[in-house]
């Protein structure tokens, strides 16, 4: 309907308006992707991190899967070998950033308030504060949520989805957007496998239905089981660059993993 004169679709005409309303409105054709602004900023973040030789990872999961614990352990074990910097996303509190600082790494906390995900603009602003040094690893620990973060590119080199065995092995098909976006699926808390009905093979099969080439890596942050494979994967991303999850091949990963005895990556 024309809001000015009231003439509308079809046969609706307002008396006293002689003008022809066959095309009652001006049509402005735009054709623009809705996430274009976010994606543009994410590209800017990715490019500026690449120039500074910083490798960035977007860590996503439900709340409580062990993302922060994985980072604490990563910081401790990498020690002086490689600097780790972290951007923490939560609705409220700086609990996670405090834990990361206590573990010995630089951290910036983002509180999203009512927001359910981080976006490129938040990460961009946090990076000005964080100023990660050349050669460092940057982890963006997203808001705990298996839905919304999947849609927002934050300028990462690779996306990591963490799931713990207490959450159930049916999550990939229930949250397909998240698992379709993943470059790596870390299955945490494998030390609890004897006590829960979680089938790693079933989860792997579901994840591969959504993304055939995705790597699934079972670990226990608590016991340290298979964390060698996690470090090997991080190395491989640093060395090869996995900009869209397709750049690194399975064979190049195998050669990296060969340096670490006892490490297993499900392929």
């Amino acid at each position: 309907m024309c809001l000015t004169c009231g003439c509308g679709d079809g046969e609706v005409r307002v008396e006293g308006h002689p003008h022809d309303h066959e095309a009652p409105h001006d049509l402005l054709v735009v054709e623009q992707r809705l996430l274009a602004k976010n994606d543009h900023l994410a590209e800017h973040v990715r490019a500026s991190l690449a120039v500074r030789n910083v490798t960035s990872f977007n860590l996503m999961s439900s709340p409580g899967s062990g993302k922060t614990s994985l980072l604490e352990r990563t910081i401790a074990e990498l020690g002086d070998d490689r600097t780790v910097c972290v951007i923490e996303g939560d609705q409220e509190t700086s609990f996670d950033a405090d834990r990361i600082r206590a573990a010995g790494a630089r951290a910036v906390q983002i509180n999203t308030g009512a927001g359910c995900h981080l976006d490129a603009s938040m990460v961009h602003d946090a990076l000005h504060q964080l100023d990660p040094p050349s050669g460092s690893l940057l982890f963006v620990e997203n808001v705990g949520n298996l839905v919304c973060p999947a849609l927002f590119d934050v300028g990462e080199r690779a996306k990591v989805v963490v799931i713990s065995v207490t959450e159930g092995d049916d999550k990939p098909l229930k949250y397909p957007h998240m698992f379709r976006a993943a470059d790596l699926v870390v299955v945490n808390k494998t030390d609890l496998l004897p006590y829960v009905d979680f089938d790693v093979d079933r989860l792997t099969e579901q994840a591969r239905r959504l993304k055939p080439e995705v790597r699934v890596l079972p670990v226990s942050v608590r016991t340290g089981e298979n964390l060698d494979a996690w470090f090997a994967w991080l190395d491989s991303v640093v060395d090869e660059g996995v900009s869209d999850g397709s750049a690194a091949t399975e064979s190049t990963h195998s050669s990296h993993l060969g340096r670490h005895s006892g490490a297993t990556v499900r392929t």
Binding site: L3, T4, H21, H25, E31, R33, L34, C116, L151, F152
Partner: protein, 83 residues
Amino acid sequence: MHELAITQDLVDLVAERTAGRQVVAVNVRVGTESGIVPDSMVFSFDVVTLETPLEGARLVIEEVEGNDLSLVSVELVKEESCA
């Protein structure tokens, strides 16, 4: 509710392109694999357009296959004939 954030971006984008002109309808394409729930987007649209030149405008969603998520076109009150 990522639909709220995305719809806010949509409204900002439309406002930038239309320079204060009164908007009748906003046409978007939403893919079935885009991760966007059309009903949530319509709800968000009514909220974020309040007290803007888009208030009262219709959000028309064409659902398509795939992960497309695009602003297609904007219908504006005709400047000459209805002024």
